[in-house]
Structures are given as C-alpha cells and as structure tokens.
C-alpha cells in the first residue's frame, strides 16, 4: 500500500439549525450532527470516493478537509498538516472544487489563472510555464483571452478545473464532481479526474452516483448520518455489485426498506 496522504481522525461537526431551516426540514430539533466521528485514510495517487445519500455529511466533511469550516472535534491531516492548526499550509496543498465555487465572468482564463496563482503564492516563472502546459493540454489556449462569461459550459468547466490546480496541489478535493452537469460536461470532468490521477495527484471526491465510483475510485467510504458505515477498496466494498452492497448495508444499519 502506498503512502497515506489524507487522514481524517474522528471528525465531528454539529450545526445549530436556524428557524427557517427547521421549518424547511419540518423538524423541531435545534441542533444537527452533520458529521459524527468520521475517520478514514486516503493514499497517494489514488482516487478516494465518499459515497452517501443526501444529508449524509459529505459536503461538510470535504469543507472541513478544505479548511473552510472547523471541526468541533477531531482533526484531519493533509500531507501531514493539520486542518485545525495549520489551515494556510493545507490550502496550498489542496485544490478544492465544488459547483458552488464560481469564477468571475468579467475576467479571462488567462487573467484568472495568474490571479489565483498569485493567491497561492506561486512564483511567476513557474506560473507561466504551468499555464502554457495546462492550457495546451486541456485545449484552453484558443480561449485564453475570452471573457469567462462568454465561454461554453464545457470550456468554463475546464477552466474552473484547471484553475483549481493552478498551484500544483498534491491533493484535489471534489464535492459532487458531476452533479447538475449535462453528459458532455460530465465527461469533461471525469476525463479530467482520470488525467489528474495519471499525473500522480491524489483525489478525494464525494458523490451519490454509483457508476461514478465504479468507474473512477480506488477506495470507497460509505457514509450514513455522518458516520462511516464501510470503508475499503472498491472490490472489498462492492463485492461485485456496488449498488446491491450499498443497499444491503443500508438495511443492515437502518433496518428499513427503501
């Protein structure tokens, strides 16, 4: 087994629910344990998939890994840096992508690449070199000077992906990579992930789509209600059919039929 690059140790996060949220979710409870003592490890050069239903705590977990929110208890280490004690170091080691993170439509890919490079403190010469390589590799070079708002959805997706790895992070964290995308754009993303893996990056993604896990992931963690229900390599977990195993696990834990 290769080197451990991400380690989550008993991560816990509780949210206070607002009145509005209580109404929307038709619940009287004021606190929600979104992530409840979650631990797992991901290894260098592999794709790790967090699989779980809506509200399982996937986004919350990934946000804690990306240092956007702080765990109430527990810690996670990325390339040995603690997300609690050393968030700035962690941010330079990771690329974080979600559909909620947007690029300003006014600027061009060229400008934004330089800007986010500077935000990560990438040295100028290195940055230009990387821009040439990545833009050529993903076919962005002809669109480098087009304002982002005028790009096609697929091209915009490519630009966002490339910019998330502007600082050559060792770990890429991806929340619901294909959610809400049409088939063509989704393919852009999955191809990109495969490409990243080929480049030697480690990837952590969250999803509720079985086929995505089967196609891409080396290791899988299944979460229900903020807890790890099962973890292992794809073969260990899927035992031939991921979907069947998933629902078996669900019934075993919750004792209900869906």
């Amino acid at each position: 087994m290769s080197e451990e690059i991400v380690r989550a140790e008993a991560l816990k996060k509780t949210f206070t629910l607002s009145k509005k949220q209580q109404k929307i979710e038709k619940t009287g409870e004021t606190r929600r344990i979104a992530v409840n003592g979650l631990s797992f490890s991901a290894y260098r050069g592999e794709i790790y998939g967090l699989l779980g239903p809506n509200g399982a705590g996937k986004t919350t977990t990934l946000r804690m890994l990306a240092t956007l929110i702080r765990p109430d208890a527990g810690d996670a280490f990325i390339c040995g840096h603690s997300v609690v004690k050393d968030p700035a170091k962690v941010r330079d080691e990771i690329g974080f992508m979600t559909s909620e993170l947007k690029l300003e439509g006014f600027f061009t890919p060229d400008y934004l690449f330089d800007f986010f490079g500077a935000m990560h403190g990438v040295e100028k010469g290195v940055l230009q070199q990387r821009k040439r390589e990545l833009f050529a590799k993903f076919g962005i070079d002809q669109f480098a000077e087009v304002q982002v708002k005028n790009l096609s959805t697929g091209m915009l997706q490519k630009v966002s992906l490339v910019i998330s790895i502007v600082h050559d992070p060792s770990v890429v964290i991806f929340d619901e990579p294909t959610n809400g995308l049409d088939v063509l754009t989704a393919k852009v993303v999955t191809d990109f992930l495969a490409e990243l893996k080929a480049m030697g990056k480690s990837i952590i993604l969250s999803t509720h789509i079985f086929s995505l896990v089967e196609k891409l992931c080396d290791r899988v963690g299944i979460i229900f209600d903020g807890k790890m229900a099962a973890e292992g390599t794809l073969e260990e977990i899927a035992k031939g059919d991921l979907e069947t195993s998933f629902f078996n696990l669900y019934h075993a834990l919750k004792g209900e039929t869906v």
Binding site: F15, S18, Q21, R63, A66, L68, I69, R70, A88, K89, R91, D92, F96, E100, L101, K102, L103, E104, F106, F107, Y111, F115, F116, A118, M119, H120, G121
Partner: protein, 374 residues
Amino acid sequence: MKLWSLMRKEFHRFFHDPRLIVTMLLPGIVIFLLYTFVGEAVHTEPEKQNYKVFLQGESVTTAYIQAAIEANGDTVEWLPVENEADAGAAVEAGEAAAIMTFSTHFDDVFTDLTKTDGTVSILYDPLNEAGSSFYAISNAVLQKIGMKFSIQAVSIASEEHIGREVMQQILPFIIVCFVFSACMSVTLESVAGEKERGTLSTILVTSAKRSQIALGKIVPLACISMLGALSSFLGVVFSMPKLMGISVNFLGGYQVGSYFLLLLLIISFVPLIVALISTISTAARSVKEASAYTSVLMILVMVISLVAAFLPAIGDWVIAIPVLNAVVFTQELLAGALPVWQSLVSVGVNLLYTAALVFVMTKMLSSEKIMFGK
C-alpha cells in the same frame, strides 16, 4: 504580493468598465452645473465692488486689506462711525459691507510680540455679497500676517439672500449624497455581488489571508470611490466663485488652506462609507439584502447630514461622530471659517472607524456561519 493582486483585480474591473467611470465623474459635473446655474439665478454679481466699511479704532492692517481689495480691481471706502445704531442699520440694509472694530493698541503686537491681546471684530451680513467677501478678504489678510490677535466675526443675517444661504447649507449634504452613491455603486456590486455569485468563496479556498481579502476590497474600492469624491470636490471648487460671490484667485494662501481641508474632509469619509457598505455586504446573503440595508444606512446618513446642515453651532463633540463631523466642518469651511484642528481630528477619527471596520470584515470573512451558513 497577494494583497497587491487582489487590489489590482478590483482596479482592472473598474478601469475596463466605461459605465462605472462615468458614474464616478458625474457628481462633480452635477454639482458644478447646479451651483453655477442656480447660483447665477440667486444673485447677480456686480462688475466692480466698492466696499463701504465703517471703521472703529485704527490699525495699519487696514492698509493691507485695502491693497488686497484694490489688487482685485475693487475699491474700499472707510467710513467713520458716528452713530453705532445707524452704522448697524446700514449694514443690515446692505448699504454698507461691514463694521470693522479694532481694539485700542491693536498694533502694539507688531512692535512687542507679547502684546497679543488685540482683537478685531467684523460685523457683517454673511448673506450680503459685499459683506461676506469683505470678511473673507480681511480674514485672509489678517491670517496671513500671522500675528497673534483674535479675529471675531459678528454676523447678522438678513432675509434677502436666503436662497444663497440655503444653498450654502445644503452643499455638504449634497456632497455626502453624491459620495455615498458613488461608494454604493462600486461596493455593493463588488462585495455583495461576489458573495452572491460564489466568486468570493473561490478566493477563500486559497491561502490568501482573510485580512488581505478584506483590505483587497476596501482599499481599491475606496480609491475608486474617491474619484467620485474628487469630482464632487472639483465641482465645489469651480462653483465656489458663484457660491461665495468672490473670485478664487486673489485669496491666496488662506484659501488654498481651506480647499485643502475641504478635500481632506471629503476624502476622509470615503473609505469609511466603503468599509461600511463592504461589511454590510459581507454579512448579507444577497445583493438584494445588502442594498436594502445600505439604503437604510444611506437614509440615516442623509438625515444626519441634513439635520447638521440646519443646526447652527453644534458643539465640538461632533468630531467623534463619523460622517457628521465631515459635514459640520465642511459647512464651517464654506462659511469662511478655518477649523484646522477640528478637521484634522475628524479625518483621523474617520480613518480609525475605517480600520475598525476592516477588522470586523476580516472577522466576518473568517466566520463559517456568515460565509457558509445555511
């Protein structure tokens, strides 16, 4: 380095958007047009001025004042005071410009620097053109001499030129409104807009410090909004001759000093307002919410400055109240006074509030509830 990139991004967006640039230049043009045309309608300027001034006591400084007036192509006629009541009535009726009273031994200070108890008072009607010009010129000349004696303006106000008085009084209010809307037009879009569109979170994922992100917004947006303030200032400067009924060029050093203070005051509340709107925008969930809060703030600021415009002689405690301090001292400047330390302290106070708001915004950017709450 990161801060610089953040700031450059804001400038880049601004200078590539012609609409925004026009927004910034408009206030000054509007003030100029308003005050030039309305100013013209409110009073007609005589070709040459002959100042009739009642003189009580004597001083060599009257010769300097006369020289200054004649240098401008006008003349002055010094009249003896036979009956104080008649003289006062003449000033009130606009037949004479002022009554100038020197204390006995006023000139002693020129031979013995310790004799600083000389006083001079000028009774004039600030709404009368000749009166206010005479006061402005005398004041300028006496300030320039730089000896220590007290200058007192005893003003009476007739109702004739009420139009000009009102205009003079609401000018600070107009400036505040224009500057506020300049700040609002760039800041709401840039801060609340970026938060709503999710482009601010993209920056939060990088290793840029939260304080850098806050400063990276407030500093460039304040600089940009200052263009609006600068434009307002120039509008005031160029409409000043019409407003005061005097030409700018002969007032020399004193006038430069008050223009400088005026500019400082106007500029000092720009970063403050930008920081306020930025903080509100960071806290708000959407541009809509941010504009609602900002409108409330704008109404508040407008009411405060309008009230200040019509409250005579507020105490010096206004120095501690942001924006209001600028309004009050701008007004005093426009009325011909030179509140130097009050203006400088106000500028400092406004900057302090701004720094506090930068800190608050940094805290907000670090707050997961505000940035990633549901």
